[in-house]
């Protein structure tokens, strides 16, 4: 009964909103429609509608999957200070971070779903109902850790919000172990995803022990970058109380993460160029092109410029405290890591192929459409969840207001004449 009220109260919060909110929802629905059109086309004709081929057998979908795993994992960067050190200003932010993690995992699973050739057999790879090839397959492990992380975050955030809705403090005995567990779980989803590439001896570009640490470092940049932008939007439109102190603290953490990311990248680049073995060809393809094939070169340099620039902006206290510097830096980091994970990680691993064939991959129209649709679904889910979470966190949506409104609404509703 109590939970029923929670659901009803949540639904009511979702339905009501200002004009801008509806416009935003409309925009997301339009994105999803575009994605649905693209996916219908792909389902009918097969993955031939993408530009992936045997030589470059993973592309934009798996790149985006990898990027979003990073975003999902980054919720942890906020959980640690909030709960372990009981650092107040970030505490509300954690709920937003966890909601983001839940939505990010949903987009991850969708990116895998659209990438596989037989989505009707997706159940083969789901824990319990499928036939997971564990321990040897990393994708099977990824399915396990992603699902665990999803359930974990959904449970925590539902518990926190449900308790707040009932005007009760959250249960420490229940939530704290789960919150602590979510930290290694976040590390595990990104590590296992890195191992997916890292473990392939056939692809020297990925077969480097530094890949998993690089993944984590870049995730600790891009995830908080999204949160930084979201928090400012929520502060403006949802009147969520967020202190500037918290924002610049997050930016500072991002500067350290970006330093580690750039350092690891530099270590990789040194090894490749100084030893200059046959394996240099993949890095060369990315940064200068091979035999006139240069389609990734501008993206590679843009990514490096964005990441490096943002690092400087966030390193200097005066620019990271300034709203312009803060937002510019967040967008630059987001863009830099998006290119790094979405394109510069996956495609050069396949170019040239294991038999020396160079196939230049760029995403097709259908791939872009489907990707837009998936981000639409993720953003819609996030919007609706935040729409419920914010008034609960602010104490505006509780069991009392929920039921009071319910009774008045019932009174106002004209009774059908029989």
């Amino acid at each position: 009964m109590m939970f029923y009220r929670f659901v009803v109260g949540s639904l009511r919060a979702i339905v009501r909103g200002p004009k801008l909110y509806y416009l935003w929802l409309l925009f997301l629905v339009a994105l999803i429609a575009i994605g649905a059109i693209g996916y219908a086309d792909q389902l009918k004709h097969g993955l031939v509608r993408t530009n992936m081929r045997d030589q470059v057998s993973w592309g934009f979908y798996i790149g985006n999957f990898t990027f979003m795993v990073g975003v999902a994992a980054a919720a942890v960067v906020l959980v640690i200070p909030a709960y372990i050190y009981n650092w107040k200003p970030i505490k509300e932010i954690v709920i937003i971070g966890e909601l983001l993690a839940v939505c990010a995992i949903v987009t991850c699973l969708l990116f895998v779903m659209v990438d596989i050739g037989r989505p009707d057999r997706f159940w083969h790879i789901m824990p319990f109902i499928g036939n997971l090839h564990i321990p040897s397959s990393l994708l099977a492990w990824d399915s396990v850790v992603l699902n665990v992380y999803f359930v974990l975050n959904l449970t925590i955030v539902t518990h926190l919000l449900y308790r707040a809705f009932n005007k009760k403090p959250y249960s420490k005995r229940f939530a704290t172990p789960l919150i602590i567990l979510s930290i290694p779980a976040a590390v595990s989803i990104h590590t296992v995803t890195a191992f997916l590439y890292n473990g392939l001896a056939s692809r020297p570009y990925w077969n480097s022990a530094i890949l998993a640490p690089r993944f984590i470092a870049s995730a600790f940049c891009s995830g908080p970058a999204i949160i930084l932008i979201l928090l400012q939007l929520l502060r403006r439109y949802a009147k969520l109380e967020i202190k500037n102190e918290a924002l610049s603290k997050i930016a500072e953490l991002m500067a350290y993460a970006m330093f580690v990311n750039l350092f690891l990248f530099g270590a990789e680049i040194f090894r490749e160029y100084y030893s200059s073995t046959e394996h240099l060809v993949y890095t060369k393809y990315l940064f200068s092109g091979v035999d006139g094939h240069r389609s990734l070169v501008p993206y590679a340099w843009l990514s490096l410029f964005l990441s490096g620039g943002a690092f400087l902006l966030f390193l200097i206290p005066s620019t990271r405290r300034h709203p312009v510097g803060l937002n510019l830096g967040a967008f630059m980091i987001y863009g830099g890591v998006f290119i790094e994970k979405g394109i510069a990680l996956v495609v050069p691993g396949f170019t040239p192929s294991t038999l020396g064939d160079i196939y230049e991959y760029v995403p097709s129209r259908v791939e872009l459409m489907v990707t837009a649709g998936i981000y639409g679904i993720g953003a819609l889910l996030f919007t609706l969840m935040v729409k419920v979470a914010v008034p609960i966190m602010g104490g505006h949506l509780t069991i009392d207001t929920g039921s009071k409104r319910a009774t008045t609404a019932a009174l106002e509703t004209p009774q059908p004449v029989t």
Binding site: H45, G46, L47, V48, T50, M52, R53, D54, Q55, S57, W58, V112, D115, I116, G117, R118, D120, R121, F122, W123, H124, I125, M126, F128, I129, G130, N131, L132, H133, S136, S137, L138, L139, A140, S143, L196, Y197, G199, L200, A201, S202, R203, E278, V281, G349, F350, P352, S353, T354, L355, G356, D357
Partner: protein, 307 residues
Amino acid sequence: MSDSDAKDKPNRRVFLKMLGQAAAVSMLASCSERDREAFFQQHFKELSKADLAKVLERLQAEATEKTISQAHPEGRAASIGVEPAMPGVTFGYALDLSRCVGCRRCVDACVKENNQSRDPQIHWITVLEMEKEGGVDVMHSNAYYVADTVPRKGHFYMPVSCQQCRDAPCVKSCPVGATWQEPDGIVVVDYNYCIGCRCCLASCPYGARHFNWAEPHIPPDEINTNMHYLGNRPRPKGVVEKCTFCIQRVRKGLYPACVEICPTGSRKFGNLLDPDSEVRYVIENKRVFILKEELGTHPKFFYFYGV
């Protein structure tokens, strides 16, 4: 206590499996009987005898629809065998680089024997052209040479197909166990269990795995109706396929199609466990090498210089 626990576990697993499948049933209520059976089809190795018979009946009917149609009524019915591995047999392959002229007849014979898609084209064998001066250098090879003037001056040729690794990275990486090594050493794919994630394409160091990016097309009168479940039966779109040493032939004591067609006699095949086999002779009397030995895949496909 522990007894009941042990009993509990599989039950719970079965229950959850059933739960998931029950959810899917409701979704599939509107589908045809055949689609529903295909959806729930279990892994090849988990099929009971009765289930396998049912599956084969369904797949044969589907395959026959591709060979016999109104436009092509004189076609033959497809037969899909499940001949198991013979005891005491591990198949191996040897290829003579000094004889191969790069004519690509093997590619053509393989396509026809194994019902590879003609549109879009899928080739299980890739013939690489290399410069004599560079030696065996896969990364600087050319797979797109024009074959009517071979052998071209200053070049030699190296056909590459599945190396049938003893420690196959593709088998390791498959998340659902849809590909495995048979007792006779052939790495096979269950096309009805593969989810099309292409982990195996990423992990294979030899470019031996091929994905059906679109619905495969073969003219009805060109379909080879002697099929094997784990080999050359028609593949659906969205799954992975690969060389199986012509499993439908070699398990009946025939040579693979590529061995039979090769005009230069470059290709040798046989049982690695039989001291009198051709492949054993090559290993004993010629010096062989394997491709990308540093990756520890331990191929059962050997290259040698016969002359």
